[in-house]
């Protein structure tokens, strides 16, 4: 009942609407890439290298131009959304799970668990994240799943910190004492009483984290540490486009714009959800 009410209310929030629309476009592009893309993203046409955008909708037109190997930019952008979406979902959710679990444990149980986890967070966050991810990927090898692993290993601290602080705050509220007096076991108090109060926060963080994951993947693609440079990814396109930016600015521009729109979508959605999910603010 309230859940449906919340959804209906959230649907009137322009941030949720706009963020949701941007991300919906991303999902559609990723899922229906095959039917949406006019060309195969790997097809090279050496007779049409760096062709400018062509809006005549002829059968062999390239609406957003081609890159230095004559590959269709629009098709590569559409297929690149698959990489972005995969990374956003898988890395985002895994990061959220790991970070939230550790943050809950640290905040709820305190003592040595808190000491160990909090010190690990401190040490972890003293490394520059991009450098750390490059080292990690260099160590475990390139590829999409290495990128996901690197994102999880780097960004779990973001969740851990915030969730720990919020758990500490909730832990001190009287309702937890009341639950102890009522005879609930610690596990049940954590799961039934505290987690529901952490969830909105974790969800907001998750949407932001998805945006961050997309950016990290683009950075790693840019330096050639993500999927193979042949396969379409936005970061890789930015890297290629940079080399020909004077002759063919459309390669760089297209990839940058979709990256921007995606991250913006995640951030706006996170902002909107923050306002909608808090039962008191609502």
């Amino acid at each position: 009942m309230a859940e449906r009410g919340t959804l209906r209310h959230a649907a009137k929030n322009w941030r949720v609407l706009m963020g949701g629309a941007l991300l919906l476009a991303l999902v559609i592009a990723a899922v229906f890439a095959k039917s949406l893309a006019p060309y195969d993203p790997l097809d090279q046409d050496l007779s049409a290298q760096l062709a400018p955008p062509d809006w005549h909708f002829a059968a062999d037109a390239h609406p957003l131009g081609t890159d230095s190997l004559g590959r269709d930019v629009l098709s590569r952008l559409i297929y690149g959304s698959r990489v972005a979406l995969t990374v956003a979902l898988v890395a985002g959710i895994l990061t959220a799970l790991v970070g939230t679990a550790l943050g809950l444990a640290a905040g709820f149980f305190g003592g040595w668990a808190d000491t160990v986890i909090s010190r690990a967070v401190d040490i972890w966050s003293s490394f520059p994240p991009v450098l750390l991810s490059i080292i990690l990927v260099a160590l475990i090898g390139t590829g999409l799943w290495s990128v996901v692993a690197a994102i999880v290993l780097i960004d779990w601290t973001r969740f851990c910190r915030v969730v720990r602080a919020e758990t500490l705050k909730q832990r001190r509220l009287d309702y937890v004492d009341a639950a102890i007096v009522a005879g609930l076991t610690p596990g049940r108090i954590l799961w039934r009483e505290i987690v529901p109060n952490i969830l909105p926060l974790a969800l907001v963080l998750l949407t932001l984290e998805m945006g961050i994951a997309v950016v990290i993947e683009a950075i790693l693609s840019f330096v050639g540490l993500s999927i193979s440079s042949d396969a379409p990814s936005w970061g890789g396109m930015i890297a290629e486009g940079r080399e020909v930016v004077h002759e063919a600015p459309w390669v760089l521009t297209g990839a940058m714009l979709v990256l921007l729109a995606t991250v913006l979508g995640f951030n706006i959605l996170g902002d909107g959800l923050k306002a909608e999910l808090d039962p008191v603010l609502r």
Partner: protein
Amino acid sequence: MSDDVLAIENLSAAIRNGPTLLHEISLRLAAGEVHGLVGTSGAGKSMIGRCVLGILPAPVRVTAGGIRFLGKQLVGLSERDRRAAGASLALIPQDPLSALNPSRRIVSQMTDVMRLRLHLSHAEAYARALAMLDEVHIRGPQDVLRRYPHELSGGMRQRVLIATAFACEPRLIVADEPTTALDVTVQKQILRLIRELQRKHGTSVLFVTHDLGVVAKICNSVTVLNAGRIVEQAPVADIFLRPQDAYTQALFAATPRYDRPGDTLRPLPADFA
């Protein structure tokens, strides 16, 4: 006396590697009795209640003495045994907002406890929650059960908490300044309500407060605390008519009197504060 509901014997508690908060506290509470714990801030009155309920803040430990509840020693029990022994204990907390989980409806918060403690089914627990809300004079209990805590007024929330506390037929309720966070008119109703239910159910109440007026209204006997020590312990009439200890006398002298408007307020003498 073996028929005491609660017997605290020479209880001492301290912060680990720190100061002692409670010095050899002893008190007895018979069935159906309301016992007041009074004192200024930091006197240790809430700490006694927390010792009984087993919700001491992390660095505080019971260092000596015991708490006998219904003949069973509570100090030194494992967490699991403690949960079982606490089945006839309940709490009416100070702040009725933070004592309810903000993200859960009233209904699940009330029925959870009953299903756990009384082994009721969903339907039975729901029926009992309705009956209890009726007992605390809440109109439209079905509607209240559907609400989230922030949708209710402070007095309403405190009524819900009182209903929850009495729902499992506890033998002892610790009321930790239950009226402090409420405004004066609601305070009076809440006090009357606790008194009414306590009589009806024959529940003993350990009533923590700093308000001597509240003590006079609701308690049978009183323990006056200062800096973690018992200053005076007596039936309520004795304390009010013949306070023996200098601290108790100072406490009474410091109470503002609405019936003597010309009086100046007298603070507690510095050596007590």
